[in-house]
């Protein structure tokens, strides 16, 4: 069963706009929530990650917002650029585990 649910499946944003991708989880034992970025023909690469002791983490134009009570987290890409066009995956894992459970991915296209 899908342990992390991600939406939307695809997203088109104009250059300079804000891209927002949402994820939800059920397992309250999850305590590590990374986002991975994948360009065509490449493997996914870590973009940014958050732990549930904070509600927001920002790195440059990328921000994770985390709502522990709602069991939801989201990725915001400010001032989106065509170079941000890629597939984004949210994920979750437990500190005692080894598996990283991925969402189904969001294909982002930023138009010029």
């Amino acid at each position: 069963q899908q342990q992390v649910k991600q939406s939307p499946q695809s997203l088109i944003v104009q250059k300079g706009g804000i891209s927002i991708i949402n994820c939800a989880y059920e397992n309250t034992a999850f305590d590590y929530f990374p986002w991975y970025q994948q360009f065509p023909g490449k493997g996914p690469a870590l973009l940014i990650a958050i732990r549930p002791d904070v509600s927001e983490k920002k790195e440059g134009r990328f921000t994770i917002s985390f709502n522990k009570s709602a069991k939801q987290f989201s990725l915001h890409i400010m001032d989106s650029q065509p170079g941000d066009s890629a597939t984004y995956f949210c994920a979750a894992s437990r500190h005692s585990g080894y598996a990283l459970n991925f969402g189904k991915g969001t294909s982002l296209l930023v138009t010029p």
Partner: protein, 116 residues
């Protein structure tokens, strides 16, 4: 210097054949993984090895057999290939930390398997 390298990058074969994909990491990590990415880009974990010990074995047909000869290598052998095995297979590695979890995963560039 490639951190996680997989070979071959492309593999085209007939149904019923047996094939292998090799993976090597030079990051000194203690944990390695195989993920399968299907045509819809869903990433599903198949196996994980920590210090050469199998720790994750998801619901995968026993036609798939991983082997880790040492911490830096993790190979995947697939017997009697089926059409549904067509996918991109990613190898990844990470350095596990007690109480922290799997940590950052470093992925290879993938091996695209096409079964005809």
């Amino acid at each position: 210097d490639t951190a996680v390298s997989q070979t071959p990058k492309y593999l085209v074969t007939q149904m019923g054949n047996d094939k292998s994909i090799k993976c090597e990491q030079n990051l000194g990590h203690d944990t390695m993984y195989w993920y399968k990415q299907d045509s819809k880009k869903f990433l599903k974990i198949m196996f994980s090895y920590n210090n050469k010990e199998l720790i994750i074995n998801e619901t995968v047909p026993n036609r798939f057999s991983p082997k880790s000869p040492d911490k830096a290598h993790l190979n995947l052998h697939i017997n009697s290939l089926e059409l549904g095995d067509s996918a991109v297979y990613f190898c990844a590695s990470s350095q596990s930390k007690s109480g922290v979890g799997p940590g950052e995963l470093f992925f290879g560039e993938g091996s695209r398997l096409t079964v005809l």
